[in-house]
Subunit: 222 residues, 2 copies
Amino acid sequence: MKDGRMPEGETGATRFDDSFRGKLNELFVWRRDVRRFRRDALPDGAFERLVGLACLAPSVGLSQPWRFVRVDSPPRRQVVRDSFARCNAAALQCQSDDRAALYARLKLAGLDDAPCQFAVFADGATAQGHRLGRLTMPATIDYSAVMAIHTLWLAARAEGIGLGWVSILDPAEVTAVLDVPANWTLIGYFCLGYPVADDDVPTLEREGWETRRPPDSVLFVR
Amino acid sequence: MKDGRMPEGETGATRFDDSFRGKLNELFVWRRDVRRFRRDALPDGAFERLVGLACLAPSVGLSQPWRFVRVDSPPRRQVVRDSFARCNAAALQCQSDDRAALYARLKLAGLDDAPCQFAVFADGATAQGHRLGRLTMPATIDYSAVMAIHTLWLAARAEGIGLGWVSILDPAEVTAVLDVPANWTLIGYFCLGYPVADDDVPTLEREGWETRRPPDSVLFVR
């Protein structure tokens, strides 16, 4: 149908079949937070293409407030690595005696190896969307950027490319070194590249840090 | 391979092929924020199944801090509808003269028709994950809940089921009526059901409220 719209009553349930849904489930199962990367570069234009897909994410009021800042400069990357090292050392000091040794063994970022690294900001001052949907719940701007990140994460995984979310950082320090407008809020810093290995179990569970809980433990009815 | 892990060097690029990636792209393109629902009930167990898939989302420190509260009670749903009506009227008053008429014509929630409605909270007090990754960027707990929502959104769309995110609400009021632990933060309220129509263009763009921008406008290099 012209413009892509389907007539009233056509739910589009036939647009995606059982085979696709099975592979989509598999994508969710095999998507990992990657910390061990090969150093091989990504194909030319891969990052731009993944950002293009990320831009299909939902956003409050169609504000599209996500800002992708690829970090290529070695001095800037060094500032990020240093911030991680300091914050991770501080976090280790916060661990209980019985968990500190385990925490120290965890590899929590691929900053030394990932060929592609980028920060994602949310632009809370954007006029796009004319503030629709944001007045009583302004964090929806940040949540929109998160959904763009998640879209990129899934699209990358479907190409065998891994993403790792690095949050053990001083956000003010990372924001300052990236020289972005004052109204931008850092949502996260990301490593992107080919993973050393794939897994259908989260690394933190493999390493004994934590275990996943069953879905019925998070489901309530009122 | 035992436990699902693939040997070092196997990137898993062959796990997903071009055909799947094409359909995944289509999923991103056809996923909408739905406001016009049919009243038909979802299949038995559909909501629980979708929550199960949502639980495959990434979470900081494997904290899985998402809490899904399905709202079945008519009086509670009425409180949510009233909150929306009040907040939407207030938002209309905030519009500039030239945009107020357009705002008033927009349908911004399917609260009267969607057969399934639920709230999602983030449990910031959860001990799960032992606070890994959260110390310098505590909003990662909320972001994890957002990614669970987004996972459910995509999984639903793959089944021809639509989701609408309602943020034009008083979060304190909605939280209070749902009788949840004090530490839970409302992330959003959601309508779920069969959409009246599908579209590959956002409704807000169809209605002339806003237009999408090209990906290169959100891509920067440092």
